[in-house]
């Protein structure tokens, strides 16, 4: 009997040991500490407004690091597609790309690649939805889910890019009633989609090269267009509403350059000897990420901002891994709730908040940073490298926005509050 009891006790002990073992198993997180911040960008533009060429131009412009310290990378199959569009657009002997069909609705995934401790790694991910513009204006076919997918993407976007077709502006300027009506229709679509959201918005005038004749000075040209747009009641209201909590920008861009295409015979044609030189295409992207951060900042009440700042400062004195643990355990959850209440659910993901924190706080003293790095373990050092890489990318994007503002002060439509960090 005693032996049976001993066996039973042993069995119990074994069971307990197995359970304890299971509890001790902690999943090992792969990838960069805190994950890669990911933002979804959705453009709002009617068919033919230049969404696809803008996407192509953004990628072509940012596919190499240049002097900015980061570059974009896309999955290989998307790279093939972008390159095909580019060849179609840039070759004067080819037709323009034929336009996006409903079956081609998909998201392009840009990885922002930067130096992370000597290796090139993705530090931010940007999703860019490619879709046919008629989904914004035409009824969907019975049984199709494309329109629902688009509306869902708009509602869940971290930033919205309103595409104002320079071709329609040109038509309206020339007194073409249909052109003016189509311009209004595109603005109506933007108003409808952008007015209820709280995510950052930016307006891009595509085919800016078609408006060169308006004024020799680009800033004055932009002022003429801006005045016309602001004279549209709904648009002015949209800018006013969003300006209360964010900076609203109007960016002129040309995906082909100022000496490539011409409007003649009722259609836009390539010049036989045209030179393909896109301009300002990447500006929309440069505005988006810093704006997401700034709008996050503006939306927070003063107390929460103070808490965020204090947390960021505390973070500077602790190891990144430790800080990220703190962020995960307490800070993100709490702040995300505040953000959700202030900005609307789903607007700024935890990754956005993590990126915000990366960019906050006093600038590092290089000596102190070197000392801290020396004290860190390998994992912490990696985390620190990611933090620094993200800061560099955001800093560079902010610099590009500052250059744009210096060159085209009129590009700021509204919103002068900068917060008081």
């Amino acid at each position: 009997m005693g032996v049976v009891l001993v066996v039973l006790v042993l069995l119990l002990v074994v069971m307990l040991l197995v359970r304890r073992r299971r509890k001790r198993t902690v999943p090992v997180l792969a990838g960069p500490p805190g994950g890669i911040p990911a933002f979804r960008i959705v453009t709002l533009g009617l068919q033919g407004s230049g969404k696809t060429l803008l996407l192509t131009g953004i990628y072509r412009r940012l596919q190499t690091p240049g002097d900015r310290g980061f570059y974009l990378r896309v999955p290989h199959e998307q790279l093939i597609e972008l390159n095909r569009w580019y060849r179609k657009a840039a070759d004067v002997h080819e037709e323009w790309p034929r336009g996006t069909t409903r079956g081609e609705l998909r998201e392009f995934e840009f990885s922002v690649m930067a130096d992370v401790g000597g290796a090139t790694e993705p530090v931010v991910k940007l999703g860019y939805l490619e879709y046919p513009g008629e989904l914004l204006t035409d009824p969907d076919a019975p049984g199709s889910t494309a329109q629902a997918t688009l509306l869902q993407a708009i509602a869940g976007a971290d930033a919205l890019v309103g595409i104002i077709d320079g071709f329609r502006l040109l038509q309206a300027d020339q007194g073409d009633q249909r052109g003016a009506l189509m311009l209004e229709a595109s603005l109506d679509a933007m108003i409808n989609a952008m007015l209820p959201v709280r995510s950052p918005i930016v307006f891009v005038i595509t085919k800016w090269d078609l408006l060169d004749h308006l004024h020799p000075d680009e800033n004055e040209r932009l002022r003429i267009v801006r005045d016309r747009l602001m004279a549209t009641p709904g648009f002015a209201d949209l800018v006013k509403v969003h300006s209360a909590r964010r900076i609203v920008r109007l960016i002129p861009a040309t995906a082909v350059g100022h000496d490539f295409a011409v409007f003649s015979g009722g259609t836009v044609r390539k010049k036989p000897d045209g030179r393909f030189r896109p301009g300002n295409v990447e500006a929309a992207l440069s505005v988006v990420v810093p704006d997401i951060l700034r709008q996050t900042e503006l939306a927070l009440d003063r107390a929460t901002r103070a808490e965020l700042l204090a947390a960021a400062q505390r973070r500077m004195r602790m190891s990144p891994a430790e800080a990220l643990r703190t962020l995960g355990a307490h800070f993100t959850a709490r702040a995300a709730r505040v953000l959700a209440a202030a900005l609307g659910a789903g607007l700024v993901a935890e990754s956005g908040l993590a990126l915000l924190l990366d960019t906050l706080g006093p600038q590092d003293d290089p000596v102190e940073r070197a000392g801290r790095l020396a004290r860190l373990g390998e994992a912490d050092r990696l985390a620190e490298h990611y933090v620094q890489a993200r800061r560099r990318v955001v800093g560079e994007l902010q610099r590009q926005v500052a250059v744009l503002e210096a060159k085209l002060p009129v590009s700021r439509l509204g919103g002068d509050r900068w917060g008081d960090w």
Binding site: V3, V4, V7, L8, L11, V14, M15, L17, V18, R21, Q47, G48, R84, E95, W96, P97, R98, G99, T101, R102, G103, E104, P132, G133, E134, T137, D138, D140, A141, P142, G143, S144, T145, A146, F167, A261, G265, G266, T267, V268, R269, K270
Partner: protein, 220 residues
């Protein structure tokens, strides 16, 4: 064998965006047409299985004569037709010939569309016969639901078996006089406690080696 081919056309106009302009007459919902028939670029044609049958399509760039004017939209983009047929009866055998036929049908529809883009409503197509190979459709049965491990039952079963084994061991000890070495204690890295009463009482993993203890009365 012969089957039916229902022509369709997805295209954009000079002003209107992509939509289905010609729809197989038997369809109630045709959203899948626009979602499936995407531009082909370099391929001459493509086929895809859909819930309504095999969809075969080709691309055709509209010429100046076919467009009766500028074969481009107002943005300067070429006018392109995505035309083809839906075959609910099997795999079409002579697709190129059928595609030549649907191109003619599609161009007629497109001509009417260009004449009045805003007022145009999708037309319904009639089928024509085509040679098809019967499609062997495998019967799809729902996968068997995987057995869900009932942790409590497993533990109870294991416990009962071990207890039974322990009782057998006690009997064995008693009958063998207790001069055999005791079973090796299982260390902490035990990953399984399996018992097959007919062969062994206890098995454990020790230094990556499976160790079994067999009571003396079961030893050969």
């Amino acid at each position: 064998m012969t089957g039916r081919a229902w022509p369709f056309l997805v295209a954009r106009g000079r002003r209107r965006g992509y939509s289905a302009l010609l729809v197989p007459g038997f369809l109630r919902e045709h959203g899948f047409l626009e979602a499936t028939a995407i531009p082909l670029d370099d391929a001459p044609s493509r086929a895809a299985a859909t819930p309504y049958g095999v969809l075969v399509w080709a691309e055709h760039a509209v010429t100046t004569a076919e467009a009766r004017g500028e074969p481009r939209d107002e943005y300067g983009r070429p006018l392109v037709l995505l035309h083809g047929f839906l075959c609910p009866d099997g795999d079409p055998v002579a697709a190129p010939a059928a595609l030549a036929r649907t191109r003619t049908i599609a161009l007629a529809t497109y001509d009417r569309f260009l004449a009045d883009e805003e007022g145009f409503r999708a037309e319904r197509s009639e089928p024509f016969t085509i040679e098809v190979a019967p499609v062997a459709r495998p019967r799809i049965s729902p996968p068997e639901e995987p057995a869900r491990p009932a942790r409590g039952l497993v533990w109870a079963g294991a416990g009962a078996i071990v207890v039974a084994g322990a009782v057998a061991a006690v009997v064995g000890f008693a009958s063998a006089g207790g001069d055999d070495a005791p079973p090796p204690p299982c260390p902490r890295d035990v990953v399984a406690l399996t018992v097959t009463p007919s062969a062994s009482v206890a098995t454990c993993l020790r230094d990556r080696t499976t160790v079994q203890w067999v009571p003396p009365f079961q030893r050969p």
